[in-house]
């Protein structure tokens, strides 16, 4: 075979981040068109906030004490809800094949899908958090800044794991059941620090006091963002 001949006028394929951006935009456009997953995740999280309220005895436990648990259980489960769609749309007509043939890296596909899922989770949080403050009469405005950091760091970890496992389980029987079974153990090192941090913040303590928890969250994000991005290509058939 001859040496690779450079083609004249050949287009330059997008790099890692540009390709990830294209994939993310495409996924969000699809979600925006139907909005079904987003709406159901939103309704689910509002419903769970309401149901938790009636399972709570306000005379025995203060709102600031139950709120972190409720918040994070709600986010965890509603976050899982949107993940199936992420790969469902690729499988329906095997659009994934077109993505894989295109001259973009498989890591870019993962990062794009994870970013779209991150936007999804953050969108749900954006509505559910004020609802929590409203239903449980919590003074969230004073801790909004630090809480936003905690939410963002947790959401990154959740979506990395969730996106990778959704990719895996979408190719299996009983995908809807398998995803939580696989993913929930991985959410422990996210939910535990996040709930602790939320509790501390609601108790009026500064964020600097809980740097240990923040470090765990950050370390988890870095390790699993890297690990999941590396691992994703291995989950694809070759």
């Amino acid at each position: 075979m001859t040496a690779p001949a450079p083609r004249r006028g050949a287009p330059t394929p997008p790099g890692l981040l540009a390709a990830a951006g294209l994939v993310a935009r495409k996924d969000l456009a699809i979600e925006f068109r139907s909005r079904s997953a987003f709406l159901s995740a939103l309704v689910l999280s509002l419903l769970s906030l309401v149901i938790f309220y009636f399972a709570w005895d306000p005379t025995a436990v203060a709102a600031v004490d139950v709120a972190p648990g409720i918040l994070w259980v709600t986010f965890t489960f509603s976050g899982l809800l949107g993940l199936h769609r992420s790969f469902g749309v690729e499988q329906q007509e095997r659009a994934m094949d077109a993505l894989l043939v295109a001259p973009i890296s498989r890591e870019a596909i993962f990062l794009g899908k994870a970013s779209a899922n991150l936007a999804f989770v953050l969108g749900v949080q954006l509505v559910a958090l004020p609802a929590l403050a409203l239903f449980y009469n919590l003074p969230l405005t004073t801790v909004l800044g630090p809480l936003a950091i905690v939410m963002l760091l947790s959401a990154i970890g959740l979506t990395c794991i969730g996106t990778l496992f959704a990719g895996i389980t979408s190719n299996t029987r009983m995908a809807e059941l398998l995803l939580p079974v696989l993913a929930l153990p991985f959410f422990v090192p996210i939910v535990l620090p996040a709930a602790q941090l939320t509790a501390k913040l609601l108790a009026g303590r500064p964020l600097e006091e809980s740097l240990g928890w923040l470090r765990i969250l950050l370390a988890f994000d870095l390790v699993f963002l890297y690990a999941c991005t590396i691992a994703f290509p291995f989950t694809l058939e070759d």
Partner: protein, 216 residues
């Protein structure tokens, strides 16, 4: 297999009859010789499952996948052993069946990971896909365990546990140490023997499937 059974018998006989009971804990301490080796094998099994999966991703040798599958299945049995023997000791010594201590919690999640891993395997029919998915989940699981340990450890140190006994095993008479090491060896042998049996079964199952697909 026979060697492993003999070693197990020897270790148990020694633990029960020839090792003195611990002064403070009494007979309950003897669970130690089952509990610690089970925990060792449980984590060993998971580590080897993850490593076998990782290597499989690069060389795709079906034997590695069969090993990972067998090791996970045997591992889940030993993990169950840890989770059962722990509370049996914990109730008389700690005063509670269950304590959310870092090691306990890590073992519990190890058990969840093993089960998730096996459920995932059962949900995929195509052999290569099954090996691929389970390898990735195994490796990520191995990354997860330290995080769980760390976060639960931090969680506990901030909420001191009400009843914490002395951590058994730091200072032990030589005769107990010898029994412990005998037990560790015996349990490891048992693990190897069980995995070998299970791998042979998996190899026969795969061969049978190959034969039936080749015909069609």
């Amino acid at each position: 297999m026979a060697v492993a059974v003999a070693a197990m018998a020897a270790a148990l006989v020694r633990a029960i009859y020839f090792t003195p009971a611990e002064r403070l804990q009494g007979l309950a301490q003897k669970i130690f010789y089952v509990h610690v080796p089970s925990a060792w094998v449980a984590f060993l099994a998971f580590g080897l499952t993850a490593i076998a999966g990782g290597v499989w991703l690069f060389i795709k040798d079906p034997r590695l996948d069969r090993f990972a599958e067998s090791s996970a299945e045997v591992g889940v049995i030993f993990t169950t052993g840890v989770l059962v023997s722990g509370p049996l000791w914990g109730k008389p010594i700690w005063g509670a069946w269950w304590v959310w201590d870092a090691r306990l919690t890590s073992t519990l999640f190890l058990w969840f990971l093993f089960l998730g891993y096996l459920v995932l395997r059962s949900a995929v029919d195509e052999r290569e896909a099954r090996a691929r998915y389970s390898a990735v989940v195994g490796i990520l699981g191995a990354l997860l365990i330290p995080f769980i340990h760390l976060s639960v450890y931090l969680f506990r140190t901030q909420h001191p546990t009400p009843v914490v006994a002395n951590t058994a095993g730091i200072q032990m008479p030589g005769v107990m140490v010898a029994t412990l090491f005998l037990s560790l060896g015996a349990f490891t042998l048992l693990y190897i023997a069980l995995v070998r049996q299970r791998m042979a079964l998996a190899a026969e199952r795969d061969a049978l499937l190959d034969a039936s697909t080749a015909e069609s």
